[in-house]
């Protein structure tokens, strides 16, 4: 009879799971904070979207409610670092490498590049892009509107 536990409170299974995963989640958050620069760009790109950032804030609140202040503050630190890196990391869109196709295709203005009609620069440089962010460039003629130059131009015209 001495081996039978009597009394006490039977903890729900959810609390046991939360207690068990607490240390792993803390380790995960520490690793995210330390190695935030190693996160792949296709994952960082998702954090540029507003609804992902809102979900992140909700996630921080959930983590704080479930695990406590330590996890909450560390999650906020990790999330802030990830969002900051995501907003700072930019891709040219025409890098010639296919290691981050999601980065290009997720953009609204991206379009697939047809294999039949390749640009001259693509043929010369041997590039085979899958998609492109911007295929048109708006340019305007060079105009010098400074007063001194305008005076010089008018004098030239008068001759």
């Amino acid at each position: 009879m001495s081996g039978v536990q009597s009394g006490g409170v039977q903890r729900p299974v959810v609390d046991e799971i939360i207690q068990m995963t607490g240390h792993f989640s803390l380790l995960f958050l520490v690793l995210v904070c330390v190695y935030v620069s190693r996160i792949p760009s296709n994952i960082l790109y998702k954090f540029k979207k507003t609804w992902v950032q809102l979900l992140g804030v909700l996630g921080i609140m959930t983590i704080t409610a479930l695990y406590g202040y330590i996890h909450g503050i560390l999650a906020a630190l990790a999330f802030s670092l990830v969002v900051s890196h995501a907003l700072r990391s930019g891709s040219e869109g025409f890098t010639g490498s296919c290691d981050s196709p999601v980065l290009v295709l997720d953009n609204d203005s991206a379009s697939f590049v047809p294999k039949s009609h390749r640009w001259f620069s693509e043929k010369v440089l041997g590039e085979n892009p899958i998609a492109i962010n911007e295929d048109r460039v708006t340019t305007s003629a060079v105009q010098d509107l400074s007063e001194r130059t305008m005076g010089t131009n008018s004098s030239n015209v008068s001759r």
Partner: protein, 107 residues
């Protein structure tokens, strides 16, 4: 017996006051660090901690300092986390290539 109990309570009170003072001091020092180094972009971080940023164990220590500070007092942890965020973010930006900075400006 009553004297002993009262002396114990007074020691505990003193300890509590000391703990409160240390917490306030740490918070004040961290806020000063944020004000002098993190909020002013022209004022650079000390050279030693900029050079140490590239070493992973140093970043581990910084994050673990935040964990220990939060374990001690969540107010201290919050201020330490703010300082750690500014430090990790600023030093990474200052030590990264200019290509990313150009893209950031144009975006």
């Amino acid at each position: 017996m009553t004297t002993k109990k009262s002396s114990l309570v007074s020691i505990f009170d003193e300890y509590s006051t000391l703990d409160l003072n240390i917490r306030s001091g740490v918070i004040l020092l961290t806020v000063l660090f944020i004000l002098f180094f993190s909020s002013v972009f022209e004022l650079s971080y000390p050279t030693q901690i900029v050079e140490l940023y590239s070493v992973p164990w140093w970043r581990f220590l910084v994050v673990i300092l935040v964990v220990i500070g939060t374990w001690w007092c969540h107010r201290v942890g919050f201020v330490l986390a703010l300082a750690a965020f500014f430090y990790l973010n600023d030093v990474h930006m200052l030590t990264s290539s200019f290509v990313n900075l150009e893209n950031t400006i144009h975006q």
